[in-house]
Symmetry: C2
Subunit: 225 residues, 2 copies
């Protein structure tokens, strides 16, 4: 989405975003009527979004009837991985939609169409692996988490500021790898805070389970509209 | 760039790509006249593009007069890191250009404007950290490498096929972390081959230096137009 050079491009981008905003409002209305909370999970390729949801969903199962809408450019791999947690999982393949590098509210609406909304409390959206473009699109979500792996280094919040600016939570993933890396976690935290002073930061490992509890508590506290 | 739904978007995308192609041809002409090889390095955030170039540039110094054009949405961090290798480094900050999620040929031309082309043999472009959009834009390069970290998992070539389809080389980075990961390198290789049967694959660690020689040999073999 982010190529706004020239007046024609600015005009088109404005129209695309306005159409997306209407679709996002439609999603919010449907979710409100069904009493569902929608949480968008963003992050670059390999940040650990799917692994985070694989660890999260079973731990919420007692308290929340959950489903997932998963966006990828190609393959249904992530949808299949998440369906294995036992919850409904809808795969959106954007290659069928021109190869979109992000989800738009209309794609999420198509995902919601394929779910039994009356039987759900919580829907996760796993966005396309991209730390840039997804942040520009309102999906009708109630909260947005950005996932960043410790292997990606300290300066990513400064280099991809929009994703961190719009985030309601930052998940710093794969902390089980910290002993093998030279990354400075204090500097990473400070860089997140420079972009978004008050955002909650959850440092965790989906693989070991370390640090998951505060993240789960945060999720339980998100209210719908 | 990848949001082509609807006829107006398709029309605009076509025009943007046509303008980019003209700028790419201009770049190729300038590079040919100066006898310079241009290599584009793509990859997601934190894949290790800058670290790869930090390890690569000094090892080529005896044989190639090198410079770098670095694209980021925000910050000059990578340009500063690469300038520390002692070569000319031009930072393109796309936030000044609408926050573009990729480099276009015109941005690279602006980078070339700031270099003394008569004193160079090789220019690396480090693209914006994004495994999707950069692959759609011809920069006038002579070869394109995509960098994927072993921490990103086996299935990324299948999920982001275009970047791997257009790549002339795939660098599998951070192999020093393999003992601490469950990633299956054989499966990763097979997935790369499913998208691009003949592409050379270089498995290396910029940190330890392991595996760099075959990559350097490949770079030395790239010819200009």
């Amino acid at each position: 989405m982010s190529q706004k050079q020239g007046p024609r491009r600015v005009e088109l981008v404005t129209k695309v975003l306005a159409a997306n905003e209407r679709a996002a409002e439609d999603n919010r209305r449907r979710l409100r009527e069904a009493g569902i909370v929608l949480i968008d999970v963003m992050g670059g390729p390999g940040a650990g979004k799917t692994a985070l949801l694989e660890a999260t969903i079973p731990r919420l199962a007692a308290a929340r009837r959950t489903a997932v809408v998963v966006g990828d450019i190609a393959t249904a791999n992530d949808g299949e991985r998440l369906a294995a947690t036992g919850v409904p999982a809808v795969q959106i393949v954007t290659e069928d939609m021109g190869g979109a590098c992000h989800l738009e509210a209309g794609f999420v609406a198509a995902g919601l169409d394929r779910l039994d909304l009356g039987a759900l409390d919580l829907v996760f959206v796993e966005n396309v692996g991209n730390l840039v473009c997804p942040a520009e699109f309102d999906l009708g979500h109630h909260a947005r988490a950005v996932v960043l792996s410790v292997t990606e280094g300290e300066d990513k919040p400064l280099k991809y500021p929009l994703a961190f600016r719009v985030a309601d939570a930052v998940v710093v993933s794969k902390i089980d790898l910290l002993p093998h890396l030279t990354v400075d976690l204090g500097a990473l935290r400070a860089n997140i805070r420079r972009i978004n002073a008050k955002v909650p930061i959850f440092e965790l490992s989906a693989r070991s389970g370390e640090g998951l509890e505060p993240w789960l508590d945060w999720l339980r506290g998100i209210r719908g509209s």
